[in-house]
Amino acid sequence: MTNHNVYVVDDDQAVRDSLRWLIESVGLHVKTFSNGQELLENFNEEEISCLVLDVRMPGISGLDLQQRLKNMNAKIPVIIVTGHADVPMAIQAMKAGAFDFIEKPYSDQLLLERIQCAIEQDDCFKQQQAVNNEINERIDSLTPREREVMGLVVGGHSNKSIAKELGVSIKTVEVHRGNLMTKMKASSLSELVRLVMSSTRTTAKA
């Protein structure tokens, strides 16, 4: 938990500093920014675990900043904090993929809890990301023919029908199948199917 960084963006210094004080009390690292531009200039997706954002800010508003991060494909959990119980704004924030929308003044318990949740989600996401990357790497290591065969295997075709489909001998299909199972580090057909399903890569069509 100690390695997690929480970014705080708020134009009000008192709020910024007090948030740092509060969040640091649970052993998290905090980086504060006075406006969106400052954050964008110092943004490091690897480092950040959670972003706490005030809505009403001069320059880039909280919602604008959220949108820009989304456009940058940065997938960090964003907790929007606002002094206005503004329903349309909350809807817009949630639609844009905010992790949560908290109204000021908030209970510290709630905020810290949501931050913890966000960090967990982020950890989870990052782990998932790592797994995906691993699977993708495995898929990338396959030859085109092996990928073709894997697509058909996952699609439920028997070796015989695959051989017929590809116009090769059953023996050849069996060799490809053995290779790809090794490369994909799959011990069974069901595991292979799970790996392929969780992969973001599109496999070659059968």
Binding site: A14, V15, S18, W21, L22, S25, V26, G83, Y106, D108
Partner: protein, 809 residues
Amino acid sequence: MLRFIPILLLLLALLPFQSLSATDDKLIKIGVLAHRGHEETIKRWSLTADYLSEAIDGYQFIIKAKSLPSMKEAVENNLLEFILTNPGNYVDIEANYGATRIATLKVKQRDNAYTSFSAVIFTRYDRHDINTLKDLRDRSFMAVNKKAFGGFQMAWLELKQANIDPFEDLSDLQFSGFPQDNIVYAVESGKIDAGTVRSDTLERMASEGAISIKDFKILNEQHNDAFPLLHSTRLYPEWPFAKLKKTDDQLAQQVAVALLTMPVNSEAAVKSRSEGWTIPLDYTPVHDVFKTLKIGPYAQLDNITFEKVIEQYSHYILLVIVTLIILGLVIVYISRTNHNLTLTQTNLRTEIESRRHAQSELAKHRDTLEQNVIKRTQELADLNNELQADIIARKSAEASLKKSSHTLQTMHEITSSRQMSFEAKVDALLRTGCNCFNMEYGTLLQLKEKRINVVRYVGEQDIFKRNKWIEHDQLFAKYMMLDSEPLIIQNANTDARYNQLYQHTSLKISSYLGFPVIVAGALFGYLEYGSKKITNRPRSLIDIDVLQLISQWIGGEIQRQQSQDNAQKHQADLAHVARLGTMGEMASGLAHELNQPLTAIVNYTRGCVRRLSTKNADMPAIVDAMEHSCSEAERAAEIIRRMRELVNKEVPRREFNDINNIIEVVIQLVKPKIKKNHVTIKRELNTNVPEINVDRIQIEQVLINLLNNAIDAMKKTPVLEREVIVQSRYDQSGIQVKVFDRGNGLPNNMKSDVFEPFFSTKNEGMGMGLSISRSIIEAHAGSLNAEQRELGGSIFSFTLPLGSETNDD
């Protein structure tokens, strides 16, 4: 023998002048004008005298050198027998003392002899600017002597005929004195622009080698074959030899003969630089010169006027005239009297007869006439009385007219005064009325539910006390009708209608003048004047007019004040209502403000609690955090203090309104401020704007706010440029209202800040106006924007969408 020595010496002394043998001869004195000094004169002419002494037996001629004045004196005192002088002097003596010329000198000028002479007027050859006599105007000029005939007066005549008065029109006129050569030198050297000398002077000087004729230019040059010398003037005869009045004619004849027969080459002639003498010439031209110049014998000519004669001889003339008139009158009188007397005598006789007859007739008529006269006199006396009464009436009418005109003027001055307050004006009008109507007091009464309040009172006696309530029934005012007729009471005591009230009250007002004061069509009260004295003067129409005018002015003024008060009250109400109405919108802005410190406080304290509960707290850090927490609490308290004025939220009421009407109403509301700040307001309204569903009071508040801001922004703008434009526009998206000003414009980088709560560029501003306005407009689903104006100044505009959903929450 010794006794004879002085006589001998005297004789010896006389020797050079008198012939020794001529001691017995009669001494004849010839006065010669010594224009070049006595010695020179004696030297020149003594031989001529000797010649004459020799030629005429029994006479001894001697020369007496005389200057012009001494010549005159000698002639006057008969000290001389003959004179030899210049033509000018001769003419003078001829005219005044009766001299007669007997010969004219033939002057030898080098090779020729001339019996006439002239003068030459000249300038330097290279003076191209001087070509005629007329060119001498404003030039310097030199002559020999003012009285020199040839040396000045001849030239003077010519100048005068060229319209130049040498004493007036020349820049400088100098007289050099003899010799005339000086003048020639002065002109030659350029010291003097021009000069005049006697004819032959130039030629003589040239022949002596002193000058060259070529160096000079002769002005007005004359040509005469008989007189080949250079000359500029007409010719005049040379010096005459003349006998004086008392000189014996015989002797004169002898002298003339002797002179005319003087040989050309005789010693006397040579010495006198002449070729002898010729018959006397005509000196009329000389006379003419003097006449024209009004000098010499004609010096008085210009002075002899009719007035002078009258003045000098007035006594005699008057005496003669008077005598003549008296004589004439006496003659006429006597002749007429004489004639009348004879006529009367005959008439009287018949008259006496007829008189006698008439007398008897008259006696007869006298009695009847006397009767008629008495009757007529009576009639006239009556008429006279009537006329006098009429005159008095007219005079009083005139006086009252004058008084009313004065009163009206005073009223105008009072009502148009800028310094006086309304109350002071009313008092002044009451006082003016008192003077005009001759009343003791004047008062403005207000009627309130059958009771009377004395609003203003002016008067000497304490009849009313100000702000004292009086029962309506106790006043004459109760008799007043509500039409525009005044109530006029001349004498309440004797008037049956008012007698009862007069007796009943303690005021004892005899004379009364009242008029209702109407404000906005309703009876406000009364304007009344009264007096304990009875007024004899009937109330004139003018009095009633004045009374009515005062009453109407007061009524109008009260109405104006009331409407002004109402307008002000409306504005205050509006501001208040708007303040309440916009509470919600403001609250959201303020909530954000307040949330910030509250959030910080919670964060700090929670952070502290968490750290303290772990028991490994860093105490200095915690103290620091608590400090921060406290200051945030103070910040929150400050915001709450600002919020204190906000009371409770009112539900907005929306109705369909014409935006142009709202604009017009707001302009009227802001008008006092517009006028006070000398701002011109310009409307650019689109009359086709549809009605829009808005909270009228709120939109009015926004507009008031924008107009106030626009006016305030132009405090430093030159008065002539202070213009606010209010524009309304309409398109599919909705209605747009723009307010343009010519003020300072928006502060740099503060375009968005102006809408923030508590932002203000005005010292007295709360900084809430635009923030509230934006909240109002946003609540109407519109937007409020600020722009910098290219010309300078700013544009604040708001949009109100048509038929859009409204955010009533």
